[in-house]
């Protein structure tokens, strides 16, 4: 079987399979830490939402549902592209995988741009705590808390998206250089895991932040 130049396992591993397993397990453990990280924030948000149901619902109606929905669709699409890329890379069609990864990264950039547009609109409406927050109506405290969580949660998420974009670009470059094959594809697998996780967090945030108060 034709061996690729960097299909040698690192010195602490017995074979490529062990290296691959280790990379995957490592990424899952890392994702567990991320679950606890965002989880703490989401739990705190939920605690306050239970305490201020009307106020939070009122505040949530001021979020930009169109942008939020568009962003959700964008991330879901990009996740699909990344999943496709992982499969394709294993079949030695690395150049196509690179294209997919770069498109996913581009979608990530679009996500961030839309987020920027959203933040700037909210800044103008005085909805960002710490940046001239003002809210009319009786629920000012609840709204301030809601938008604080909004800013922190989506801001942290955006940082994770940015990191993910860099990772996808770099991995895409490597894929373009035909570095991956069925024997060696753990970087693209774990990058995929990370990107899917970032997408999943967004789904939770979308449901918790954009949707309250918009039901019947």
């Amino acid at each position: 079987m034709h061996k690729m130049p960097d299909a040698q396992p690192a010195f602490q591993f017995v074979d490529m399979r062990q290296q691959h397993d280790v990379a995957r397990l490592g990424m899952w453990v890392f994702l567990a830490t991320e679950v606890l990280f965002f989880g703490g924030l989401i739990l705190s948000y939920s605690a306050y939402r239970t305490g201020y149901p009307t106020g939070f619902a009122e505040a949530a109606r001021h979020t930009k549902i169109v942008i939020g929905t568009a962003n959700t669709a964008i991330l879901l699409t990009s996740s699909f592209l990344v999943a496709w890329a992982v499969t394709v890379a294993r079949l030695r069609d690395s150049r196509f995988a690179a294209l997919l990864l770069w498109t996913a990264a581009l979608l990530g950039v679009v996500f961030l741009v839309l987020k920027g547009v959203e933040y700037s609109a909210e800044f103008n409406e005085h909805l960002l705590p710490g940046f001239g927050f003002a809210f009319s109506g009786p629920h000012i405290h609840a709204a301030h808390l809601f938008f604080s969580f909004y800013l922190v949660a989506t801001g942290l998420h955006a940082v994770h998206v940015a990191v993910g974009i860099v990772v996808l670009v770099v991995i895409g470059l490597r894929a373009h250089q035909r570095a991956y094959s069925d024997l060696y594809h753990s970087p693209i697998t774990v990058a995929g895991l990370y990107w899917h996780f970032v997408d999943l967090v967004w789904i939770f945030l979308f449901a918790l932040i954009y949707l309250p108060g918009r039901g019947g």
Binding site: F11, Q12, F13, V14, Q18, D21, V22, L25, G26, V29, F30, A32, T33, E34, L36, F37, F38, G39, G40, L41, S44, A47, Y48, G51, Y52, P129, G130, H141, A142, H144, L145, S148, F149, L151, V152
Partner: protein, 536 residues
Amino acid sequence: MKNAPNYLTEDNSLRSWLFTTDHKRVAILYFVGITLFFFVGGAAATLIRLELIEPQGHLVTSDTYNRLFTMHGIIMVWFFLIPSIPSTLGNFVVPLMIGARDLAFPRLNLTSWYLFMVGGATTLYAIFRGGIDTGWTFYTPFSTMYSNSHVVLAITGVFIAGFSSILTGLNFIVTIHRLRAPGLTWYRLPLFLWSLYATSVILVLATPVLAMTLLLVGLDRVFGIGIFDPARGGDPLLFQHLFWFYSHPAVYIMILPGMGVVSELVACYSRKEVFGYKFVAWSAVAIAGIGFFVWGHHMFVSGQSPFAALVFSFMSFVVAVPSAIKVFNWTATMHKGRIRYDAPMLYALAFIGLFTIGGLTGLFLACLAYDVYVTDTYFVVAHFHYIMVGGMVTAYFGGLHYWWPKITGRLYPEYWARAAAILIFFGFNMTFFPQFILGVLGMPRRYHIYPPEFQIWHVMSSTGASILAVAYALPLFYLGWSLFFGQRASANPWHTTGLEWQTPSPPPKHNFETTPVVKRKPYDFTIKGKPRAQNA
């Protein structure tokens, strides 16, 4: 054999050390770091104990005193205790014990050390700039709205160090899962690894919550988001829940590795397998798991609901059971053993005694009505010092002496080591037992001015502290001496089982010439005490 290069002698340039990915060298880097922080935290403790000799407290101002105990807590918890055994002894021993050439992610290991040092430097800088006066617990709204000290800088340092913890935990979990030598099943693992595994699970799951909590405090201070401010609809108690959700499991991070070391020591120096191996192994896992559900016992008088208090009190009693199981099993291990009194065993015995005292006083605190009386008094201070210092630090010293020949290739001077161990035991009890009495008499924590009737106990405690300070300095000298003049060590100076003793002292860079194949369980000594190595 003596002249073959080992991990220390192979390339001794500074660059090779600062860019090393060898887990053994990373362990040494960590050792240097935590020793430094131990002395900084110890300096704060010295000033605290000096101040407390007199009831009116003339040595330092109130503001300085508040910064001293905060500094002491932050440095000792995050920059000494949490990394201590895992990042020094763990980093060194884990791959050797499982027959691997390194950890799963050697570069992440080095990264974790850099993060640790950057976090530590940031915290030291905060101290240099004037310190922080919130207590290591950062309670809101004092920390978010009232403190005039360098809160953000200090929490940044801790935040960075938290990533170091997470990476270490991640590395250990993956390594223990995937890099075990052929034949090394879970039930053949030395108990040190079970404990480190349990510790790593806590490191990985609890630390992110601390990260989020500190982030929110920082944002509250900088941007005024008011999440913990009652005047703006926030709840100061939310901070306490978030903080203790991490910080209670954190105390198990600060004892489980010590328990793991003690299992190794008791087996080796009783020349007998650990009694009830599976029970001891699963107890570590139980402590880690149940430990996530007891955090509210720090909040019995905070204003949480009585129902919550009942649940947390009950769970706090439950979590003490696996610890008791370990103590019983270690004792049973010694029954019909062949016991030696080398310094590591003295430390192990001290651990069992002091940890038990600390653990029993934990029951006093788990007990609701009694906790209402003694929470926030010196009783709590005494309790956690018995566990963390009497327990963890003692175990750390025990492990350090036990693996010293493996790490350095030298034997330490045995009589000096025994003398230091005994002096530490004596100094420790004299420092901290009077603090139980102070607590029962009603002396609150974090006070530097106190009613005169408490003075006698403070003087006793401070006297003990001066003995303890000398006792802790002793190993620095004789261990340092041994590096240059100590007798050279063979591969297995203690004649014990375990894969780490099947390779030279110090080990070569890649640990083993050939990957060992494990054929037997750990701690397999014959009746006469002759060891059967795991790969023999």
